[in-house]
Symmetry: C2
Subunit: 358 residues, 2 copies
């Protein structure tokens, strides 16, 4: 950011959890300040949505860019509007080529998929790869990944790296080829509904009850033979779909492991508990919260790059000033509040008027 | 064992930690019994050396095969001799081709090497593989493996699988080629002493003070650039050599990880604590005990095969009886006690007389 000509303030101790010392920020040209000096900032970059206390320290008109978790938090959004903040929700970034480098959901999901396999391997009481030794052969672990989006694909890749026998499922037909390209077996009921299922947004749509029942039967049969199941299915703005029931878990071998990456949104696995590893029907069910944060240094590096790239689109390199172009499709997609009002249509706001850029 | 014509008794609940139910043993033809029925057994197969209480339940003349941990436990060996047991220490199995399938040190070290990397990845706050994403590149973790025996080689292979940049060191010149064949970089002071260092037993010998100092300087310099260090250096019958000092740890980046697989024998890493993950000079030092037991199902399967193969050499397939051939080099190497006396020369016994087989 210094290269863009901006002055950078960093709150004291901000980087500790990601192994970045205040001195490192200073070496990079930033000034270390206390939280009260946020008042001076034209732009505030954060990981999470600011609290009420934090909002009161920001100056009206300041730009706040963060993971806003907006769905279901309309009151907090209204608070930011009232404080006169121009707030951007990074998770609403559109999935278009230009915004790829700003896509926090992809960058963090990628890490979550990796860490899900590490967590599973850690809890699993056998080795993952096939080991052919003088004392006999340890069979490769059977890993089943449910939901082959960014997290699922990285989970497949990581489990394959570790030598597991990997299969995966997804309701989007496009996933079939991606799963196969990573060397995993694709498991799905491939009927007409399945073939019609991919939506423009790149997310899965919710399938019919009939399809879900057929898929559940196929999956139940498959899960009973697995050592490790990793679920990654999310539907934007809705609770996570229930993919694995207690009954399916009870059909798995004792000591099997299941990882629920959707636990924050209600969970894909029956019995999973947020923030815990619990035993359900003899299966260890892992439900850690904020899984990318478990590899904080990597998560932080990628998130910072996402924020930086987005901020860069608002900086005028000549005048070294920051301005918001309300016509930019990235701004349209992510701006929650501006000029005292909630402006995002998904959260009760009318779209910003033409030419209203700050 | 049933196939050898033997009757098999299994203590109730014996396999629980390795996910084997009593019913599974019964299905395989074994009879489930209480601990008191050990009295009836001609042969007792165990994981660990029997306790005094257990010894009292065995019949005189019974063969006991286990991991005896004999060095420093001469009193316990004498106790087994006094009880009239014929006790075999599996860890004394000679490293010859014929005994490869009975080599518990190799089979368990292999698993320990794998698990050391999983434990390190779990504690590490970054991803192991290089990840080239739209939001920038996560660099590959740098992993340094000290001691390239069976455990070290599996650690190298597993870290490579996960995409880490791996280097390794060993005082045995033969290790150089093995390390390179796994795609890792070999780090060692390669002077004349190094070239002369390999001993017949396949283990490292203790090096001179001068060599150790030169190697320590090279290693200190190298460690400072690593993210993860895994130490696996053991010298039979002696305390583990100190390879990593506090000073070396303090030169590593904050948040780095070190795994001490030699912690049970005093540790290769200064500050490592048996059974714990501790922070030493900003580095997470992992010192779990019985690391193969952390993947109990695999460890148990391989150990059982080791025991079985050894026992098989004592079974007469015609008469379906068990007899010990004192002339067998496997028996000579592993038999601790027989006929009321300690017989192993390393533990104060004279070698067994010719023709004294039971």
């Amino acid at each position: 950011m210094k290269a863009l000509g901006l002055d950078v303030l960093v709150e004291a101790g901000a980087g500790l959890a990601s192994r970045i010392l205040d001195a490192d920020y200073e070496a990079a040209g930033a000034r270390i300040v206390g939280p009260e000096e946020a008042k001076a900032a034209d732009v505030v970059l954060k990981v999470r949505r600011p609290t009420t206390a934090e909002i009161s320290t920001y100056k009206p008109g300041a730009i706040v860019i963060a993971t806003m978790d907006p769905y279901g938090n309309e009151a907090a959004i209204a608070e930011m509007a009232k404080a006169g903040l121009t707030a951007f929700a990074m998770e609403l970034m559109p999935r278009i080529t230009r915004a790829q480098s700003m896509d926090i959901l992809s960058s963090q999901a990628n890490l979550a998929g990796y860490q899900a396999v590490i967590d599973a391997a850690y809890e699993f009481d056998r080795a993952m790869p096939m080991m052919m030794t003088a004392a006999g052969t340890v069979p490769a672990a059977k890993v089943f990944v449910m939901g082959a989006g960014v997290a699922g694909l990285q989970a497949i890749a990581t489990a394959r790296r570790l030598g597991a026998a990997v299969s995966a499922t997804d309701v989007r037909p496009a996933a079939k080829e991606q799963v196969a390209s990573l060397g995993a077996k694709f498991i799905a009921v491939e009927d007409d509904e399945f073939k019609a299922a991919e939506t423009a947004g790149g997310y899965a749509k919710e399938m019919s009850k009939e399809y879900q029942a057929k898929q559940a039967a196929l999956v139940a049969d498959h899960i009973a033979k697995q050592d490790i199941v990793i679920t990654t299915a999310l539907i934007p703005g809705r609770p996570a779909p229930r993919l694995v029931t207690r009954q399916m878990l009870s059909a798995m071998k004792t000591g099997s492991v299941a990882v629920d990456l959707a636990v924050e949104r209600g969970g894909n696995i029956e019995g999973s508990e947020a923030g815990k590893v619990v035993e359900v029907e003899g299966v260890k069910v892992i439900g850690y919260l904020n899984v990318p944060g478990r590899i904080a240094a990597s998560a932080s590096a990628l998130y910072a790059k996402n924020l930086f790239t987005f901020l860069e689109t608002m900086v005028d390199k000549e005048t070294k000033s920051v301005s918001v172009n309300a016509e930019d499709e990235l701004v349209k997609a992510t701006m929650l509040t501006h000029g005292g009002s909630v402006v995002h249509p998904n959260f009760g706001g009318a779209a910003v008027h033409e030419g209203e850029g700050k």
